[in-house]
Structure formats: C-alpha cells, structure tokens
C-alpha cells in the first residue's frame, strides 16, 4: 500500500506533461495529498511490522547482476515518508502563485517528492541510489529557472556538491556490491565486512550522504542554495532533501559498517557540534532573512548528526524525530520568508523589513512566524523540543562534553531566531501611516493559510504527543545492529 506513494507521485508527474497548464496546480495538489493520505493511513494501520525493515515489494530487476526492485518499510522509513507527504502538500499550496511554466515547475517538484519517497522505502542499494540521484537534478532546474538571488550560481553549486556526495556514495555502494555480491539491504545488514575495509569505506559512504545533510564543513551549498531557490525549492530542500542525506547515513553507512562507525563516531560528533555552534553564530550575523533560516537549517541538521553519532537508541531515535521536526519547521520558516514576506515586500533584508511594520500588515504571517520561531528555538510543546531533548539525553551517555557545548549553541539559536523575528515582523519603527498598513500588501491567501496551518499543526501535534511517532521509531531503531548495548 505505502509503495503507492511512489507510483502516484511519478504518475502525477507524467500526467502533468500531457495536460494543459490550467490543471497543473490541481493535479499536483491532488497527487501530493494522495501521497500524504497513504502515508498517514499506513501510520494508523498496523498491518506491517514496523519494528523490522519489512519487505513489501520484491520483483527481480536485473537478475544476472542480483538487482531487485525491492521496497521495505519500518518505523524510521514511515516517519520520513510522513514528513515528505506533509512537506509536499504544503509546498504545493505555497506554490499556488507560480505562473511561469507551471507544468514544468510541478513536474520537477513531483520528481523530487517521488524520488524522496523512493529513497525512504528502498531496500535495495542500487534502487536507493537511483532514487537518490533522481532527487538531485530536478533541484537544479527548480532553482535555476524559478529562483531569485544569484540563482544560476546557487543552483550549480548545490547540484555539484550533491553530486560530489553522490560520487562518494557510489564508490561506497560499488565496494559493498563487489565485496558481497548482494545489494539487498537486509542481507547486507547481516554481513560481516572485514574491519580494515570498514575503516575506510564507512567514512567514504557516510560523508557522501552527509554532504546532503549539510555536515560542516561541506554545508556551504545549503545557505546559498536556499537563498537562490524559489519558496518551493527551499521548502523541499530543507523539508525533505536534507533528510535524505541523514537517512542514507543511518540506513546504509552506519547499518552496514558498524565497526567503521564506531571508529569514526566521535569525529562525526565533533563535526556535528561544530556545525551546530558555527552555523548558529553565522546566522546571528546575517541580514538576509533566508540566509538566517538557511544557516539555522544547517544548525538543526547538526543535531541530527549528533544524535546519529551517539550510537544509542535514545540518541538515534531523537535524530529521526528531529528529521521529522526540522522538515516541518524549516518548511514553515521558508514558506513564510519566501512566499508570505518576499513575494509581497520584494525584500528579505532584515533592516528594510524592520521599518515596514509587517506585524500589523500581515497578522497571520506574523502569527505563523512566531509559532515557527518558537518551535525552531526548541520551546517545549513543539516538536523541536521533543526531538532535541531526546538527542541530548542520548548524547549525555556517550559524549557529555558535546552536550555542554551544544547547550551553549542552543542559546545562540535562540538569539538569532529572536533577532530575526523581531526585525522582520516587529521592527522598532512603525510605518508612517499605520492605519492603512494592511492594504499595502496583498492579503494572505487561503492556500497559504492552509499550508501554514498544516505545518503548524504537525509541529504542535508531535510536540505535544511525541510518543505517537516515537512508539514507531524506537522499536525500529533498536533493531539496527550498530547500537551500543
């Protein structure tokens, strides 16, 4: 059943190419809603064993080379599919105003979404890589055609970084395949690779994936890419694509090479902590609202990497929850910055925004931004808190020092978030004629309200009742073999 998320999304993309453009928005919306509904249904129907990576489809693909079209699902995959569904629906809603070459726009968008579903559900290494690469190049077109500031540079940089990571992953996969002759992730998870191989193959594979997750110092594609991207592009990037990297690192690199992971885990933790603090500090100095959010993404993804590096059930589960949480929150932040603010004011400069009095002019946007900011800072009651506290609890067992430094980093996160919030919506200077401030900007549309509400609801729901997702994530995490007892 859940496999249909992939087919419906690609089917929708194919349909878009052959129908007149008046239908394209609606088809895209229907397609993404269908994907989201399937993911949601799978979460409530307990007909699949979510504690194990359970195969749901297996068809021989290239039998002579041992490749299968094999899909599987467990609690981790399902959580990721769910966040993909949520981000996809809201992305389409926030792209309702795209006029230029609509068909193409939604075609590329659906390719990204469909490919992401594919990555999260693949149980065959070759298939996983096919979907993984399939996500990357549509982003080039999304950014280069529909983007804004410095778009061609940003698009190319992002694409080349992604493919650099992809090339490393490719080497890792080839080595795995040549050594074992198998591509089945479940089989490979039982295979004992020799430690010498693990010690060099693990970093190659993990760093390859982590490029996409924005690991410091290979994160620089993320802020420039986010700034150049159209709203939908940044939402997809932060909401879904960065998760692909972290998911790949967890599902493939760590799970196949447990000893290699043990050798390198403290270095991953070091890079993660540097990423958290560094990106937060840089965000504090940015004047472009999207740069602020771009760096905050890097910082939050640092938490994911830290959680993975802990190698205990709590930390890794927290990392998965943080992937969900960050997907929702970052999508919301970018939607507000890109669609609600930039499309109306044509500026993202914090100083310029601060004199516009946006808090009064766009009350809904202000409300949504306050919610998103508090969630992003990790205030209890939102998903960010639940995830980060779980990660830090996990990290306390393995890397106590990292927790102290990260704690300091979280203060920085709060600082830049509050700064951005204050300057963008609640500037000191009130506009001269505050009476008709609201009429200067086009009012917030229904589509935007729907999209923002969906994201806000998701972060709030998971924040108030994280057990709902954790109950599905933790058993699956406990069955991964790299965990330290």
């Amino acid at each position: 059943m859940i496999a249909w998320t992939i087919y419906i999304t690609f089917g929708g993309a194919a349909v878009l190419l052959f129908l007149p453009r008046v239908f394209s928005r609606r088809i895209a919306l229907l397609t993404t809603i269908a994907g989201f509904a399937i993911a949601l249904a799978a979460l409530f129907r307990n007909d699949v064993d979510l504690a194990h990576f359970t195969t749901i489809v297996r068809v021989p693909w290239v039998p002579t080379l041992g490749m299968n079209y094999q899909l599987a699902v467990d609690g981790i995959s399902l959580t990721m599919v769910l966040v993909t569904g949520i981000a996809a629906v809201s992305t389409v809603l926030f792209s309702w105003d795209v006029d230029l070459r609509q068909n193409e726009f939604f075609f590329w968008l659906l390719l990204v979404v469909g490919g992401s579903y594919g990555v999260f559900l693949s149980a065959d290494l070759f298939l996983l890589f096919v979907f993984y690469e399939l996500v990357i190049f549509p982003k080039y077109f999304l950014i280069a055609i529909w983007g804004s500031t410095n778009k061609e540079y940003g698009a190319m940089k992002l694409t080349l970084y992604s493919f650099f990571g992809g090339a490393l992953v490719f080497i890792g996969i080839l080595v795995v395949y040549v050594t074992t002759g198998s591509l089945d992730l479940n089989q490979l998870a039982q295979f004992q690779f020799n430690p010498q191989l693990q010690s060099w193959a693990f970093p190659v594979l993990f760093v390859g994936f982590a490029v996409l997750a924005g690991i410091w110092p290979l994160h620089t594609w993320a802020p420039t890419g986010h700034v150049a991207a159209p709203t939908a592009g940044s939402m997809l990037l932060a909401g879904i694509v960065m998760k692909l990297g972290a998911y790949g690192g967890l599902r493939v690199a760590m799970n196949l090479f447990p000893q290699g992971f043990q050798m390198w885990s403290k270095w991953i933790a070091v890079l993660a902590v540097i990423g958290i603090v560094y990106a937060a500090a840089v965000a504090l100095r940015q004047r472009d609202l999207k740069f602020v959010i771009g760096y905050s993404s890097v910082s939050h993804m640092g938490f994911v990497l830290l959680g993975l590096a802990t190698a205990n059930a709590l930390g890794v589960s927290g990392a998965v929850l943080q992937m969900f949480s960050h997907g929702v929150i970052a999508a919301l932040l970018f939607a507000i910055a890109g669609r609600m603010v930039y499309r109306r004011t044509h500026t993202r400069d914090l100083d310029e925004l601060s004199i516009l009095g946006l808090g009064r002019a766009l009350p809904f946007a202000a409300f949504a931004f306050v919610v998103a900011s508090t969630a992003s800072m990790g205030i209890p009651g939102f998903s960010g808190f639940a995830a980060e506290i779980t990660i830090l609890l996990g990290a306390w067992k393995t890397f106590p020092v990292a927790v102290w430094i990260t704690g300091a980093g979280m203060v920085l996160v709060a600082a830049f978030t509050l700064r951005a919030l204050k300057q963008s919506f609640f500037g000191d200077t009130q506009p001269v004629d505050s009476s008709n401030a609201s009429s200067r900007f086009e009012p917030i549309t229904t589509a935007e309200k729907l999209g923002a509400s969906l994201l806000m609801f998701a972060t709030l729901a998971v924040g108030l009742y994280p057990k709902f997702l954790l109950d599905r994530i933790i058993p699956a995490v406990q069955n991964l073999r790299f965990l330290q007892p």
């Binding site: 290239v62 039998p63 399939l134 080039y140 055609i145 061609e152 493919f163 490719f170 080497i171």
Partner: protein, 485 residues
Amino acid sequence: MSYLELLKLVSPEAIVALTALVVLAIGLTNSRWMSALCPAVAALGLVIAVGAVLLLPRSATLFGGMLVITPLTSLFKIICIALAFFTVSLAASEKSSRNRGEYLAMLLLATIGLMLLVGSEELLVIFIGLELLGLSLYVLAAFDKSDIRSAEAGLKYFLFGSTASAFTLFGISFIYGMTSTTGLAAISQKLITGSIQPLLAVGIVMTLIGFAFKIAAAPFHLWAPDAYQGAPVPSAAFIASGSKVASFVVLGKIVLVGFGPVRGSAAWHAMVAGWSPVLAVLAALSILVGNLVALAQTNVRRLLAYSAVAHAGYTLLGLVAGGRDGFSATLFYTTIYAFTLVGAFGVVAIVRRETGGDDFQNFAGLASRSPVLAGCMSIFMLSLAGLPPLAGFFGKFYLFSAALRADPNHGLLWLVALALFGSLISLYYYLIVLKVIFVDRSVGDVPFVRVDLLQKVTISVVAALVLFFGVAPTTLVAQIIASLS
C-alpha cells in the same frame, strides 16, 4: 564449401552491398522524385538485412575465423544496422539533398565495414573492415562541398586515420612475424608460452594505436573535435556511434581473445606489463583530457566530441577489467552511448537547420521553442552524465562494478575513482547545455522549431530507448551475457 552456402552466411553483408548499389543507381537518375526515394530504399534494405541476420545459423566459422557467426556477432550486426537505420532517417530530412544517392551509398558501405569488423576473428579481414569503414567515413565527413569546415573535417579525419591505419598494419605485421598466424585464436595459442619480448610489445602497442584512434581515446583524439563539428551532422553521428561500437567490439576481441595471455595487470602498486596497463593509461588520459577540455567548449558538437573522448575512457575500463564481465559491461556501455549520441546529433541537426548553427546561443531557449526536442535532449545529456533512471547510469554502474571486481584487492579502485571524478566534472558541462536550453531565453526573434514527423519520431524513439534501457537494462544485458557464453 559451396559458393551458395557461403553466400547464405554472408547474406546480410550482401544485402547491404546490393542496397548500396541500388541506391547509387537511383541517385544517378537525377530526377528529384527518384532521389527522394533513396532513403526509403536504403532503410528497406537495412530492415531486410536485419531479417537476414536473424535467419543466420547460431554459429559458424569460415576459413579459419575470417568470418565467424556467433550470437555475439549477430547481436552487434543488428545493433550496427539499427544505428545505420537511425542515421539514414536523420539524413533523409537534411535540407541539402544533393547527391543523396551517393551519400547513402557511402553510408551503407560504411555499414558493411562495421559488419565485417564485428564478424571477423582474423587480423587481415579486420584490417579490411577498418579500411572499408574508414574510407567511407572520410568521404562522408567531407561530403558537404559547400562548407569549408566539412572539407577540413574530412581532411583531418583522413590524415589522422590513414596514419593510424599504417600503425595498425605495421603492428599486425610484427605480430604475424612473431606468431606466423593472423587468426586471433591461433595467436593466443602461440602467445601462451612466451614472455613479452620487445618485438611483441611493439606489435601490441602499434595495433592498439590504430584502435585508440578509432575510439578517439586521448592522446589520439585530436581529429575528433573538428570531425564532429565540421562534418555533415548525420556523418558525425555515424562516426560517433556506429564506428565506435564496432571498434570496441573488435578491440575487445583482439585484446581478450588474441592477446589474452599477455594481459598484464593495471592494479595499483601491482602493475604487470601487458596490454591492460596500456589501456588503463589510455583510459585515464582520456577521462582527464576529455572532461577538462570539454569544460571550455561553447559549441555543442565540439562539446560532444570532447565528451566522446571521456566516454571512450570510461568504456575502456571494462576491457582493462577483462573477463566476460568486463567485456559485456563495455559492450553494454558502448551500445547505449552510441544510441544516445545518434539522438543528440539528431537534435543538433534540427537546431542547426533552423538557426544556422550549433553554438550554445543557437540552443538558447529551445525549451520554449520545441518542448519535445528539449525533453529528448535532456534525456540524452542526463544519460551521458550518468543520471538514473537513464541507461547511461546503469552502464556506468555495470562498468565500474566490473572494474572493481576484476581484482580481489580492489586494485582498479584508482581508475574507478578517477572515472567517477570525471563524471562529476562532466555533469557540469552537460548541465550547462541544459541550462542554455531550459533557463536562457532565445536570442532575438526565433520562431518555433519546425520538426518534420520523421525526425520527431526518430529522435523520440531513440530517447525512449535510452530511457527504456535505463529502467529495464536486463533486456539488453541478458542478451549480451548470453551471447558471450
């Protein structure tokens, strides 16, 4: 053996030769109506030839290997004929239809050359095939008498080609001198005992030079940019596709069958003298030179030429790896590559006809002028860049995994890493082509591209093939592997 039986076994070649004569005769009638008939006759002849190939016995050997029929030769005869077929349909809609009969007749003669090359395991017949192919291609390259670039292309191709042929012939004479035979199987019998004497080394290297020229491997690639850019587009397409496929098939047979015992090893830190280190160096040079120089190109045909150099390098990886695995990977890759290039040249032909050139600026905004052509071109470019789910990606995976598997200690990892690094570079220039097509706006007032139905169908069919072999590679891989066993 009776003459009739011989005729039966060479019936495909005979049919193509007959068609060439008929087409030539029709072309001489000098009536416009009749000359319009030429392509149809040529195409019909090729279709009949495919039928004749299918009717051949499964295996036969004539005159000690001068002509052999195996499943492998039959498969590749069909592939060569198919490439000729697509080239004919490209040529059919060229505007300059002067001397169409002669043009098609030369094309068919070149096709016979390909079939001889593919279907022989004896050095002299291989040489005759090379010469027949080469002489026809020289004429085809220089065919456009009104274009000085075409003359330049023809002359350069001829000068380089004849020099390379001389080297090959010289090399063959050395090998004959050492082994007193020209049959590949017999040569390998003779070589099995001896070590590599200087004379033999000279013979092998010289023989390889001729083929390195044909496949445009660096440093024997200097003719390629001018020939690809200057020759009439269908000629360039055929030089880039058919000639390359056949050369790789026969090169594979010569090194793997004929020189099998003196293979040597190209593994890192464990090189052993033989032909495989020679090919490894050629491959490494081609990948570096081709990709780096392609970065600087602003003409699509020159860019394709330099990328062809790089692809020759990738393809050689399979031969360096050796064995059935490596050979079938090489054959798969070169076949896919040939089809992709025929398609890409088809798009170039149309753009050139409509805008009078094939520089980047002529392609600007192609997406808005002809979405179908732009879509097909993106499939070709992305396949060349090695992106899934297109055939180029599977080809690379197959090649690289074969190369890694060839040595138990991953000895060829250096070459594979270099090739991956090369594909990363190549992605940049392929994306630039797509950027020009999809992102840039057309210069000046260029009308919609008029594409006649035949060309549209041809290009779409080729694009569909590239996609199909990417999604279901097993259809071709299984054929190749079965034909090798």
